[in-house]
């Protein structure tokens, strides 16, 4: 910019906002705010996470290994994976369909539909579990019919899957609706005007443009599906090795004063959370 007489000067590599004396806060303010948030972070997030692993390994690797290879733990892991494996695909199908419908079409009752999708967020998971007990339980609406046909839903695997589906219901749809609304319908209209069928438009145009958002929704949905406690607890019946998911298994062990084992199983969930966060970071980086 040398040789320029007066006028407007362009700043190349201007100073960072936080380094410029014009916008910098006084030292004590910066350190107070920083100190407060770091303390908060350490006490409420870091410490519990560390505690899980410290407690899990307190009695050594042998106890840890025994706890997570115990057949009951194995059954809990399998049930947790099963519930997630059923809930997630259903969630994806439903979430994509709902988001597609809400963002690409105009219809009456749209706002109501959006509110309904959010219902599982606003309702306590315990209430959600209770609803299923009232509907499908032995004394519930369909209880008699179900027991006549020898179908068990409550205190059995189907109940756990249902409860998981209910609490994870909004994740994918919630992730996709704003994304698809922002993208608008231009690309789809262009595809149709070029002769594409609805199916082709979805697979070739819509899906590729939402894939990262979809994956993000799946990750969140998975984390919730595997970690859900309240709703599952109500419908599970806590039959050891049969209807306990990982979070329920942790509770059982804890109530039996097997602290090391409880924390060992909990550490699996904590690891899952860390992996989830890692994938989430990766997706955010990829889609940015």
């Amino acid at each position: 910019m040398s040789g320029m007489v007066g006028g407007i000067q362009a700043y190349h590599g201007a100073e960072l906002y936080e380094l410029s004396p014009a916008t910098r806060e006084p030292k004590w303010a910066r350190y107070t705010i920083l100190g407060l948030s770091l303390t908060f972070f350490a006490i409420f997030l870091l410490m519990p996470l560390l505690a899980v692993f410290v407690e899990a390994l307190r009695k050594g690797w042998d106890v840890y290994w025994q706890a997570i290879t115990n057949p009951d733990t194995g059954a809990a892991i399998r049930l947790t994976l099963l519930a997630a494996a059923i809930a997630i695909p259903l969630n994806v199908v439903f979430g994509v369909a709902a988001a597609w419908c809400i963002s690409k079409f105009e219809f009456r009752g749209k706002q109501l539909l959006i509110t309904l999708i959010d219902l599982p967020f606003s309702v306590s998971p315990v209430v959600a579990g209770l609803v299923y007990v009232l509907v499908f339980g032995a004394h519930g609406w369909f209880g008699e019919w179900l027991s006549e046909h020898n179908i068990k839903i409550i205190f059995a695997v189907p109940g756990i899957v249902l409860a998981t589906i209910f609490v994870t219901f909004p994740f994918v749809a919630r992730e996709l609706i704003p994304l698809m609304q922002a993208q608008g319908t231009d690309a789809e209209e262009a595809a149709v005007s070029l002769g594409a069928s609805g199916w082709q438009t979805f697979w070739r145009v819509t899906l590729p443009s939402i894939k990262w958002g979809l994956l993000y929704g799946v990750i969140l949905c998975n984390a919730r599906a595997m970690g859900e406690f309240g709703a599952v607890s109500v419908v599970s019946g806590h039959l050891r090795g049969q209807t306990t998911t990982l979070p329920l298994h942790v509770e059982i062990l804890y109530n039996e004063y097997q602290f090391a084992a409880a924390f060992a199983v909990a550490s699996l969930l904590a690891l899952l959370a860390l992996v989830t966060l890692g994938i989430k970071l990766f997706i955010e980086w990829k889609s940015a």
């Binding site: 231009d186 690309a187 209209e189 262009a190 595809a191 149709v192 005007s193 070029l194 002769g195 594409a196 069928s197 082709q200 070739r204 145009v205 590729p208 443009s209």
Partner: protein
């Protein structure tokens, strides 16, 4: 292919977007739908494409009713205002899209697709960008890719929604010329929507001027510009000085001043003596008379003289109503010869005056 639009009506809740529109778009012509924003031009374009449905009325494509024909069966190339390129596909795949989604028995072989896409990319002079993604292109390049993509399926009609709207002024001018040339090569019936009168006048064979959901005037650019049929048309196409007054003594009485109708111009038959009228004169159709003694012409005061190029623009305000503003174009030379200066009192006389009954 010819397009006919018959008695099209469209409402958006309480807003009447199109009010009984009937138009004929001749084969092989490039027609501009021109009008201010909200006049219904884009809605009409989308109805022709099938992206929107009319409440009533008919669309005839080559004489046969297309009202119930699905978008993908209309064989219409539609170019969106923001191009709507597929962001996750390369330029090549964008252009190939229309060919790849054809039903199996109609789909060309891969080599044929490659050849066609290469041809089209050359037609729009972007053969070297085949492997790029839309986000790596400039606005002008995107527009041309969108056009190539629309042309890939051999559309019978080309519909362009504000094709130059998202471009900067210089590129816009270049692409206008290019689009006109392309149309002269391909002779495909085309309709484009624009709010820019200059663009319409420069590019189109025919202009459909729209306002508030209705057609104001249809004609060649020259016709529409020279003989605006309505006050709206006059105001919208180019700059116009407007005079509100009464029809009296073969002229327009504007407060105390009389604006005489030029002798060369026949009087309008449908004007009643004493009736309210609106008169328009283009900036180059007004003359400045430094002699204020006469009784004819509007009394005005020069507020600014902008004498850049060969034509100077003189801005004036009415002598007694300073908020009324006029614009006159005069040859720069005559600024000196008439000895015009800012603050001077003058009279304005029209050499051309278009008078409409005020309704």
């Amino acid at each position: 292919m010819s397009i006919q639009v018959k008695n099209i009506n469209k409402r958006f809740s309480t807003f009447k977007a199109l009010d009984d529109i009937s138009l004929d778009f001749p084969t092989g012509k490039l027609v501009a739908l021109l009008g201010p924003s909200g006049c219904g031009k884009t809605t009409l374009l989308r109805i022709i494409a099938g992206l929107e449905t009319a409440d009533s009325g008919q669309i005839l494509l080559e004489g046969s009713d297309a009202s119930n024909l699905h978008v993908r069966e209309r064989q219409i190339g539609f170019m969106f205002q923001h191009y709507a390129l597929f962001q996750h596909m390369t330029v090549f795949e964008n252009v190939a899209f229309g060919l790849r989604v054809k039903p199996k028995n109609e789909r060309p072989a891969e080599t044929a697709i490659r050849q066609r896409v290469t041809e089209l990319l050359e037609l729009v002079q972007l053969g070297s960008l085949a492997k790029r993604y839309p986000s790596q292109l400039s606005g002008g390049q995107r527009q041309r890719i969108a056009l190539a993509r629309a042309l890939a399926v051999n559309p019978r009609v080309l519909l362009l929604d504000e094709p130059f709207g998202a471009l900067d002024a210089k590129v816009r001018k270049e692409l206008r010329r290019w689009l006109r040339q392309l149309h002269d090569e391909l002779h495909i019936t085309s309709i484009f929507v624009t709010h820019d009168q200059e663009e319409a006048l420069e590019v189109a064979d025919e202009i459909v001027l729209m306002n508030k959901g209705q057609v104001e005037q249809v004609g060649s650019p020259l016709e529409v510009f020279r003989h605006p049929a309505t006050p709206f048309a006059f105001n919208f196409l180019g700059t116009a000085n407007r005079f509100d007054g009464k029809w009296a003594r073969g002229g327009v009485q504007v407060s105390e001043d009389l604006l005489p109708l030029p002798h060369t111009q026949p009087a309008h038959a449908n004007l009643a003596e004493g009736g309210n009228v609106i008169a328009f004169a283009r900036p180059h159709d007004l003359h400045i008379e430094p002699n204020v003694e006469g009784s004819e012409g509007i009394r005005a005061k020069i507020s600014r003289i902008l004498a850049f190029g060969p034509t100077a623009r003189v801005e004036l305000s009415h002598a007694t109503q300073p908020e009324t503003y006029y614009e006159v174009d005069v040859p720069t030379l005559s600024i000196a010869s008439l000895n015009l200066h800012e603050g001077q009192a003058v009279r304005l006389r029209p050499s051309q005056l278009q008078v409409f009954p005020a309704g």
